[in-house]
């Protein structure tokens, strides 16, 4: 069309219809796929054995400004609730103390996962070739920043308004002391960002987000609410609205490699490794936080696990990917066994090491013990009687001179760290599936608790050689470690962590710990 004719046509069009016109997000997005171009150097900086297709689409077709509009609306609702009505009703001081402590861990550890997911999705944005697929990952990059800030906001809120700020106010500095930290880093940090880009996507999106965010971010809101906490549902359910996009990204990752020959060779092995990696930590830790970190219980963890992980994810979600050759992980059956007892085993160890935490733990009360026994028959004979013994020896009382870790030593029940998952286990006193396996490599001994982690180690030991806490602290006295790791309250002497949440209970100080003269040793050296 000639130029002058075009101007005339525009004039005529306006005369015929002067209605206001704008541009919608979808009208822009439909050109996204054409935004890139071919050039010699155009290849990812992060190698992958898979080939992602050039024409992969995204399911959430957003442009930058529409993304911002959508998120901003959600923020207004969320922060409005937090800063207005929940503050006016003093909600942070109406939370059960046990749950207040759990949120020190849950919120901060989830923050670490969200933070590392920023980098993980940055890597996927780089690895994808299709602009729409890049755009999907980009949206997730921004979401993960949002979630990092949101998780932080929970700790910030509880610190500012709640009943015990210690741990909420400095979790980022003190979290590294204890036995739960390294395992969390494996699943929530390095597992997302270090490896084949598609393998990382499987860890993050296909397993971490599609499988474990349901119990972690959705189920947790029921437990929070039952225990008086309305801040966590307000924030976490807002986070979950973004997780749908992330699950879609994971789905599209699989779609993008479906026709690649490498997928038929490696995909199910990578999925199995990712599932075992994630479940090895989340299954016991989430169960422990829910059941032992609350007063009011919603349902036994094993039921929650079975519904979200086994049926919803292992059956329905993975079933949908069956047409792309994806199968339910072979390790799912072993994981199902862990879902029954592993969190009870872990709490026994976590409580024994309570001084290294940044939160207060509580022994089960009689009514809780009854609930455990009713839902996990055999619980008392294995765990309940030990807690009774610890209580009788004064484990909650600073003047008792008794730390539960002494019980493990006295009874010759060494605690090891699984090298691949970094999760502690006690093979001589557990009801879960853990069994001790020891291998030597690079002049050091390495312990493992299951065949799946051992297989990962045997394939690529150089990826998992991380030092564990017993090697790190070996020969050091416990109070020194606590002080060095900033495990003290603002008075400079009282521990952040405590073995009870009783309102009238005495609080342990650094001197109480020092008197016991507990020195770390590496159990592998005794083998």
């Amino acid at each position: 069309m000639a130029i002058s004719t075009a101007t005339k046509a525009a004039t005529d069009a306006l005369a015929a219809n002067p209605a206001p016109v704008s541009v919608g997000a979808q009208e822009v997005h439909r050109w996204m796929q054409s935004f890139t171009w071919d050039f010699d150097k155009n290849r990812t900086k992060y190698s992958t054995k898979y080939k992602m297709a050039n024409d992969t689409k995204e399911q959430f077709k957003l442009i930058a400004k529409e993304y911002a509009r959508m998120e901003s609306v959600k923020d207004e609702r969320q922060f409005g609730s937090l800063q207005d009505v929940l503050t006016r009703v003093d909600a942070a001081n109406r939370v059960h103390p046990k749950w207040n402590e759990s949120m020190k861990v849950i919120s901060n550890f989830l923050e670490v996962g969200e933070y590392n997911a920023i980098a993980a999705t940055g890597m996927l944005w780089d690895s994808a070739t299709a602009p729409e697929q890049k755009n999907g990952y980009l949206g997730q990059v921004l979401d993960e920043i949002r979630h990092t800030n949101q998780c932080a906001y929970i700790n910030y809120y509880f610190a500012k308004q709640g009943q015990d700020a210690a741990g909420h106010n400095d979790a980022r500095r003190t979290r590294a002391i204890g036995p739960l930290w390294k395992g969390m880093k494996r699943v929530f940090s390095d597992g997302f960002i270090s490896g084949d880009a598609v393998e990382c996507s499987i860890n993050l999106q296909l397993v971490g987000e599609a499988c474990f965010t349901n119990p972690l971010i959705v189920a947790v809101t029921e437990w929070a609410s039952a225990n008086g906490d309305e801040m966590t549902p307000t924030v976490f359910l807002s986070i979950e609205t973004d997780e749908l996009r992330h699950m879609a990204n994971g789905y599209q990752t699989v779609v993008s490699i479906a026709n690649d020959e490498a997928a038929s060779k490696y995909l199910n092995t990578d999925l199995n490794n990712a599932f075992w990696t994630q479940q090895k930590y989340f299954t016991p830790v989430l169960g422990m936080m829910f059941e032992y970190g609350s007063h009011f219980k919603v349902e036994p963890w094993v039921k929650t696990w079975n519904r979200w992980v086994y049926e919803d994810w292992g059956g329905i979600w993975i079933g949908r990917l069956g047409k792309y050759g994806v199968e339910s992980p072979r390790s799912l059956r072993d994981a199902k066994k862990d879902a029954y007892w592993a969190h009870h085993d872990l709490f026994l160890i976590a409580y024994a090491l309570w001084p290294t935490g940044f939160f207060r733990l509580s022994l089960p009360t009689q009514e809780e013990a009854d609930w455990y026994e009713a839902n996990y028959p055999g619980w008392y004979d294995m765990y309940g009687k030990v807690y009774d013994e610890w209580r009788a020896r004064g484990c909650e009382d600073p003047s008792s001179g008794f730390l539960p870790i002494q019980w493990f030593i006295e009874n010759n029940h060494p605690i090891y760290i699984d090298r691949v998952s970094q999760v502690p286990f006690c093979p001589s006193y557990c009801k879960g599936e853990s069994t001790l396996r020891v291998l030597e490599y690079n002049g050091k001994k390495h312990s493992f608790s299951d065949q799946w982690g051992e297989r990962m180690w045997l394939s690529e030991p150089e990826r998992y050689e991380c030092q564990n806490i017993f090697e790190q602290y070996e020969g050091r006295e416990l109070s020194e470690v606590i002080a060095e790791g900033f495990g003290l309250r603002s008075d400079g002497k009282t521990l952040i962590s405590q073995p009870h949440t009783k309102k009238d209970g005495k609080l342990w100080t650094l001197d109480d710990i020092k008197r016991i003269n507990c020195v770390f040793s590496d159990p592998l050296k005794a083998l």
Binding site: W37, R94, S225
Partner: protein
């Protein structure tokens, strides 16, 4: 009462549950220090909300300067390469977590601004279209410059956007990572705004091509953007040092080439050709440029260039990078000069003297804001002369 509750009973509102909870809550708070991150050093007098929510969220060990964690990585890349490492950049820092966005924008503040810009864009476009402004745009400017060359410039913005992906993966600080993602999103927003303008014009002007085919042809095969395309490709995919990516993109390329094309070409000239639509979009891009400049100058000047231990070394490295990237940027601008032969000349606006004045402005700004702070010696008159040699 039983401790198992179901049916959605809430501890805050259920009287029976609430009574049990309140009986367990301490009579007074157990801890008096209520400020999260109280241990950190704030940029200003007090720790602000941005610093509370962002700083030290990164779990890096203390051998990456600034980190609070200890030990090794729990999982590494195949072959044993670490998750994050000091070797990922030639820059050195005594604290990789020191950077602050000068606007202290955490996610909620960032998206709030952009959401407002989107709503205003929608309102503006409706008013613009109903008012019939499109009739006054010079046809050559509209169909060739906006249709082809503005569209081609969208690929420049898209390419620079993609250069942020590996920065977001590899960089060593939390606030750096968040800032890098945000300035990356601003770049793809620029590319999308350009396409939005072209789509909008296609709705108002029958026959105006909405397709990206011709702009892509211009970007990939044409002479006007040849230097820019090669420059962007090298920043995006041929550069592995994440600091060098940010430095080349935001301290050299965009403050010179991007500024000239956006501010001195499209924005300054558009009104002379009856186009008051393009400045609306370019102004948003210039806002993003300004915010990005605040971020990257904080990274490179306030933090790295002034680092007590490594400042001298870092400034020397930045000067070496400037030596590498400045000639390519000048060459890109020289190629771009050919665009003036495609538009009707307006005396005092698009003639050689006006172009030279525009170049002088851009290079003077760059020298003041980017070169002088790292003590980089540059003959801007010679650079202007080189660029002008590209005029047809």
């Amino acid at each position: 009462m039983t401790i198992e509750v179901n049916g959605g009973r809430r501890g805050l509102t259920d009287p029976e549950i609430a009574a049990v909870i309140m009986a367990a809550v301490p009579d007074k708070p157990l801890e008096t220090q209520r400020k999260m991150n109280y241990f950190m050093k704030p940029r200003g007098k007090r720790i602000n909300e941005y610093e509370v929510l962002c700083c030290y969220s990164q779990p890096t060990p203390d051998w990456i300067p600034g980190g609070l964690d200890w030990g090794d990585w729990t999982q590494k890349f195949h072959g044993g390469r670490p998750s994050w490492s000091n070797e990922s950049t030639e820059m050195r820092s005594s604290d990789w977590l020191a950077h602050r966005d000068p606007a202290f924008r955490w996610h909620a503040l960032y998206v709030k601004d952009k959401a407002e810009e989107w709503r205003y864009t929608d309102r503006f476009l409706k008013a613009y279209s109903a008012d019939g402004h499109v009739r006054s745009i010079d046809p050559v400017w509209r169909d060739e410059v906006l249709g082809d060359y503005l569209g081609a410039f969208g690929f420049y913005e898209y390419g620079l956007f993609n250069s942020h992906s590996s920065v977001v993966r590899d960089c060593l600080g939390d606030t750096l990572r968040m800032s890098s993602a945000m300035i990356g999103l601003d770049k793809v927003d620029n590319a999308q705004m350009i396409q939005a303008e072209r789509t909008f014009l296609s709705k108002l002007v029958p026959g105006f091509p909405e397709s990206t085919d011709i702009p892509k042809q211009e970007w990939t095969k044409g002479a006007i953007f040849k230097g820019a395309r090669e420059l962007v490709q090298d920043i995006w995919q041929a550069t592995y040092d994440w600091n060098e990516i940010l430095f080349s993109g935001h301290m050299i390329c965009d403050p010179i080439f991007g500024q000239f094309v956006r501010r001195e070409f499209f924005m300054r000239l558009s009104s002379y050709y009856g186009d008051n639509l393009t400045p609306f979009f370019i102004n948003q891009m210039q806002l993003y440029f300004s915010q990005t400049k605040g971020i990257t100058t904080d990274m490179f000047h306030t933090c790295l260039g002034a680092d007590v231990e490594f400042g001298d070394y870092n400034n020397r490295l930045m000067r070496a990078w400037a030596n590498k990237w400045l000639p390519r940027t000048v060459n890109a601008l020289k190629d771009f000069m050919a665009i003036y032969a495609t538009i009707p000349e307006i005396k005092g606006v698009s003639d050689k003297a006006a172009i030279e004045a525009a170049l002088v402005r851009v290079f003077a700004d760059w020298k003041r804001d980017f070169a002088d702070p790292i003590n980089y010696k540059v003959d801007t008159a010679a650079l202007v002369k080189t660029v002008l040699s590209g005029l047809k």
